[in-house]
Amino acid sequence: MDKTVATLAEAVAGIKDGAVVMIGGFGGSGAPVELIHALIDRFLATGHPGGLTVVNNNAGNGHVGLAALIEHGMVGKLICSFPRSADPVVFTETYLAGKIKLDLVPQGTLAERIRAGGAGIPAFYTPTGFGTDLAKGKPVEVFDGRPYVQERWLKADVALIKAEVGDRLGNLTYRMAARNFNPLMCMAAAHTIVQVSRIVPPGGIDPEQVITPGIFVQTVVQVPHPAQEEDLNRAKAVYPEINP
């Protein structure tokens, strides 16, 4: 069993038009910038995939990563909790022009819905959002005298994940708070594609320290020195660069 592939292009080759794509990260931390850019490269070369539904905590920052994915018109709908950032111009303009749909979900509910998708829990109850506009139309049930909102699982066709160390079986570790949504999205996608800074042989990760066991991962590609979205934005990067 070997889940590694040699190139980013190969890693993202199977993503179809209209796919639901979970993208890890919280802001730039844990965002799989190189996988996203490989997907943009494919779109620029082939016109596919388009019409994606993206699940991410945010909506991109500047003109790289998720923001660039949106800027290229590849995203038809975004499911997120906080579509604001230091430089939110791409999402804001696309949204206000009516060119992208937004499904706003409270952050903890978003995380739990993704975990539920991965754990085979079709629905659960949460106090979050009760009595607010974001719970409108959702079933409410009272447990022990307190009202709770029913929320549904969230699954994806594909997850794009940034991890730190991986092996050919798909076992993963993360780097500090870049962990965030990544391990949950690994669980909730039918096909989880991971960029890691370093591939090690099986056993190279202490079994106690595996954060995502390989069962949740389908494809691993090595990206030795991944860009930090924050650094790209401070350098005013645009993807793809016009003058590379």
């Binding site: 069993m1 975990r115 998708g117 991965g118 754990a119 085979g120 829990i121 092996d167 079986l169 076992n171 669980m187 042989p201 099986p202 056993g203 079994p207 106690e208 595996v210 066991p213 390989g214 069962i215 949740f216």
Partner: protein, 223 residues
């Protein structure tokens, strides 16, 4: 007189259907034996409910570490690539559809796919473990069982008589006489011992065996 498969041969037969790279959970008892007969060149990854993925074979006697056990509380070993996780993550793997195959024992299986494998009735101390979870979620739920009870009664039935473990969950049955799929609420015979006539097999099966094509020969090496 038909020579039935031994338990080892049944386990061998079930092992032939496990693909390279498959994630597999084995129920306690006979199903655990399937792990021993993994065909050469294939690397399946074994899951145990108590939080290990990719464990290895049993240690030598005296070498056991009792923090490194399987769901049957038997000692196992590490392999390169093993991962530990807690019980909720473990059953997320089960319930969330991440296992390719679960291979379980059975008291009774119905042609609907209903399985009874946890309780023989109201007497004694009831115990369920992870059986009810395993029957939901794995992409394929296979059963490995003698074709009939020790008393010669059919275990493959139109309807289970014992308390159910799960409804419409079993997809394949390996017995000591035959390999049978469950499809659209029917038993579909895939393989049988060559020495056994279809009529004789049907006579000890509690529901109709359907044929959707040629019936294969169930053979296993001496083990």
């Amino acid at each position: 007189m038909t020579t039935k498969l031994t338990t080892a041969q049944m386990a061998w037969r079930a092992a032939q259907d496990i693909d390279d790279g498959a994630y597999v959970n084995f129920g306690i008892g006979l199903p655990e034996m399937v792990a021993r007969f993994q065909p050469p060149g294939r690397e399946a990854i074994f899951h145990t409910e108590n939080g290990i993925l990719g464990f290895g074979k049993a240690p030598e006697p005296g070498e056991e570490d009792w923090d490194l056990i399987n769901a049957g509380k038997k000692a196992v070993t590490l392999k390169p690539g093993t991962a530990f996780f807690h019980h909720a993550d473990s059953f997320a793997m089960v319930r969330g559809g991440h296992l390719d195959v679960a291979i379980l024992g059975a008291y009774e299986v119905a042609e609907s796919g209903d399985l009874a494998n946890w309780s023989t009735g109201p007497k004694g101390v009831p115990a369920v473990g992870g059986a009810m979870d395993l029957v939901h979620g794995a992409r394929q739920v296979a059963v490995i069982t003698d074709h009939v009870t020790r008393d010669g009664k059919a275990k493959l039935l139109t309807r289970c008589t014992l308390p159910l473990t799960g409804v419409a969950c079993v997809t394949r049955i390996y017995t000591n006489l035959a390999v049978i799929d469950i499809a659209d609420g029917h038993f579909v015979l895939r393989e049988k011992l060559p020495s056994l006539s279809l009529d004789d097999l049907q006579a000890i099966t509690g529901a109709t065996l359907h044929l959707t094509g040629p019936v294969g020969v169930l053979i296993a090496p001496e083990l």
